[in-house]
């Protein structure tokens, strides 16, 4: 019996000391968790890497968790630190940062990797492949391309609501669900598309917004989609996401603006919801405001006709009237049908425009129609020999839209407004 007890104690001691992972032990407090990683073009062929990590300091500035000391930071945000370094590669740059930061930089909680547009237009495939191989990066982090510098974008990235920067980034990224003006793109989606024979990769498109209402010279076209940095707004937060960047393998070749991105999401069947102002047919200066959302998954039929690849796309949406600025009673059934046709034609034009842009301007299958077209081939060899991505610009794509106005907000019939002029006469 004593031998058994001794064996049990010995086993417990050995297990406790060995199984706790003494070689790979890392205290949470021994690391800093980069939540933003930015890549710009550096000097002499190097890249400039910027990282941002939270400092875990309390609201009063108290170093509650023993965060990095103030003299270590290059640029201090309200609740985070930003460091920039130049190095030949991303991972080496992170390693080099460890020579000046007292805690090891970890990418395990990175929320997004941000590339400057200048750098993305050259080729980022090597960096993406490197990150894919690196065990600390999460498949769920986002890939962003920013107009201007990634470093500036990260410097402008601060949490204006609440103290948690990582929560702020996560919530900003999920805004895509409610606005549909930019897509949700995760690292694994980007990497998968980058080496795919079916489609081209896309990334979020962002930028710094320094819009000045006083000195604004930009002409705002009501239906022209917005690109990052050009949204006519003034707010605490300078960074914004709008639209998407389009790639050929690892090289950015163009972008879709916010409205084109909404159309892209509709075609993909990933459009969740979004407000849309459609000009009233009866009054050109008035709008009808809809909340448009997905009703059913997009149906895609891919086939060959006379030897040419053809894609039939049927998008399913439904709309809810939120505001009618004119006096027209669109709630009446016959007028509702008319309005449906109007909004349908408006959205279909947008869809057609986006498809055309992807074919003629970008020459990139961002929709992944190739996945459906591949169903017409039996083997991978036949499919790859067909070379879908180079065929894509000449493919015949027939989009159609099923749209129903289902509801009219909280008002089911508007009351006839009193004509003030007639009243005055009385």
């Amino acid at each position: 019996m004593p031998e058994k007890i001794l064996a049990l104690v010995l086993m417990s001691v050995i297990s406790a000391s060995l199984l706790a992972g003494c070689f790979d032990a890392r205290e949470i407090d021994d690391e800093v968790y980069a939540i933003s990683v930015g890549v710009d073009k550096g000097s002499e062929g190097r890249l400039r890497l910027t990282i941002q990590y939270p400092t875990y300091t309390g609201p009063g500035g108290a170093d509650s968790a023993g965060g990095a000391s103030g003299n270590e930071n290059k640029k201090a945000q309200s609740n985070s630190l930003v460091h920039t370094i130049e190095a030949p590669t991303m991972l080496e740059a992170i390693d080099m940062l460890n020579t000046s930061i007292s805690r090891r930089v970890s990418l395990m909680h990175a929320k997004w990797v941000i590339f400057s547009e200048e750098y993305a237009r050259e080729d980022i495939a090597g960096h993406i492949a490197g990150l894919e191989r690196y065990n600390e990066t999460r498949p769920s982090m986002s890939i962003v391309v920013v107009r201007g510098s990634a470093e500036e974008f990260i410097e402008a990235n601060e949490s204006s609501i609440g103290g948690s920067l990582s929560k702020s980034i996560e919530l900003l990224l999920t805004q895509s669900k409610f606005t549909s003006l930019f897509p949700m793109v995760e690292f694994m989606d980007f990497h998968t598309a980058m080496i795919s024979s079916y489609k081209c990769p896309i990334a979020l498109y962002g930028g710094i917004n320094d819009f000045d209402f006083e000195n604004n010279t930009t002409k705002l076209d009501g239906r022209k989609g917005i690109i990052p940095g050009e949204t006519p707004r003034s707010s605490v937060s300078k960074r914004e996401l709008s639209g998407m960047a389009v790639f050929h393998t690892g090289r950015m070749i163009g972008y879709l603006d916010a409205y084109e991105t909404a159309a892209y999401l509709m075609i993909k069947g990933k459009y969740r919801s979004g407000m849309m102002s459609v000009p009233d047919k009866s009054f050109s200066d008035k709008n009808i405001i809809f909340d448009v959302h997905k009703s059913r998954p997009t149906k895609i039929k891919a086939y060959f006709k006379d030897g040419k690849p053809v894609i039939d796309v049927t998008v399913g949406l439904e709309a809810e009237i939120y505001a009618i600025q004119s006096d027209v009673k669109y709630e009446k059934l016959e007028l509702t049908y008319e309005l449906e046709d109007q909004i349908k034609s408006f959205l279909l034009d947008s869809i057609k425009h986006t498809i055309k842009k992807s074919q003629k301007e970008l020459e990139a299958d961002i929709f992944g129609f190739g996945e459906n077209m591949a169903g017409n081939f039996f083997t991978i060899e036949e499919w790859e020999a067909f070379n879908w991505l180079s065929q894509y610009p000449d493919v015949i794509i027939n989009p159609s839209l099923n749209l129903k106005i289902r509801r009219t907000g909280t008002i089911f019939q508007s009351y006839e407004k009193i004509d003030r002029k007639e009243g005055d006469k009385d």
Binding site: F23, D24, M188, I380
Partner: protein, 366 residues
Amino acid sequence: MNSEGKIGVFEAISFVSVITVNKIFFTSVGSIISQTGTAAWYTTLISCVVTVVVFMLVYMLLKRFPGKDLAAIFEIVAGRFIGKLLILAISAYCVFNAGSTLREFVEMIKVYNLPYTPTSLIISLFLVASLIISRYGFQAIARLCAICFIPSMAGLVFILLLSANRFNFNLLNPIGGHGLEKTIMFGLSRSSAYNEFLLLAFTVNALEGHRDYKKAALTSILISGVVFSISLLCYLSIYGYTSGSESISGVFELSRSIYFNRYVQRLESVFLFIWVISSVITTTASYYISMLLYCKTFRIKDHLPILLPFAILVYIVAILPQSMQEVTQKNITFLRQYSLYIMYLIPAAILLLAFITRKKGDIADA
């Protein structure tokens, strides 16, 4: 006495299923997709069907010799000398299987979780666990499998279900993969991946007769086939054939990619649990069967004295490969694609020899 004890059908099913399905957590997913592309999910079903055919042959052999396990039948049919040689060959294969599986696991856990822990330490700790479990014999291993079987399967199903929002079955196009010929040929050779039902044939007396063996082996082959096929189908429908062939552990990557919201993410810890448990069991099963066969060959009644020597043998096999590439491209490729020449051809040849020599067991032994 080196008795295997008695186990039930469920324990037997769990034993074979756990150690067969364990491969889905390793490099098998990537390598089968790189070889067969989009056809991977049904290639494994071809392997499963081939295995069922081989199983029927093994079952015919067992039925011919009632009350005898496969090792005893080898000796009866092929003679004591050749029979013992064949049993020793399979024992050596089991040592190789245990060591290679262990090293594959160690390399993967080093990539993802323990990069700085010495390989030798992880191997040693693993073997200590295997040694302790094996000390209590086959019955203990089978019971451990029965306990872990449902949680392991539930964990796998949990990971696949949580990944369901990413499924895009269009990624299974083109449906033919790299062509029917390549798919069938690879499916045939890959049937080696299902050979664990044979381990049970060496301990068939632990079951209540050959009918129980038939039930257990057949059910576990089918369970393994369905699990492999569904897992590959789900994985392919997320990553496609290009990206899908890259990952060192497809299912682990799948668990890492789960992101529902800020609260439901980073679920790989669930995966780690089932991964470690099933890897311990797989290594232990192979390690134990290798000892058992050695004992049967030399009529050794107690396996306890050879626990340590065999653990050292497994350690040597595990430590020999110099890199991850060597493990996957040599050891694992041999195990998954070429081991059928040992594990399937030997019993088939013995059956043929039994027919030719008209050797049969005694009904009284049943």
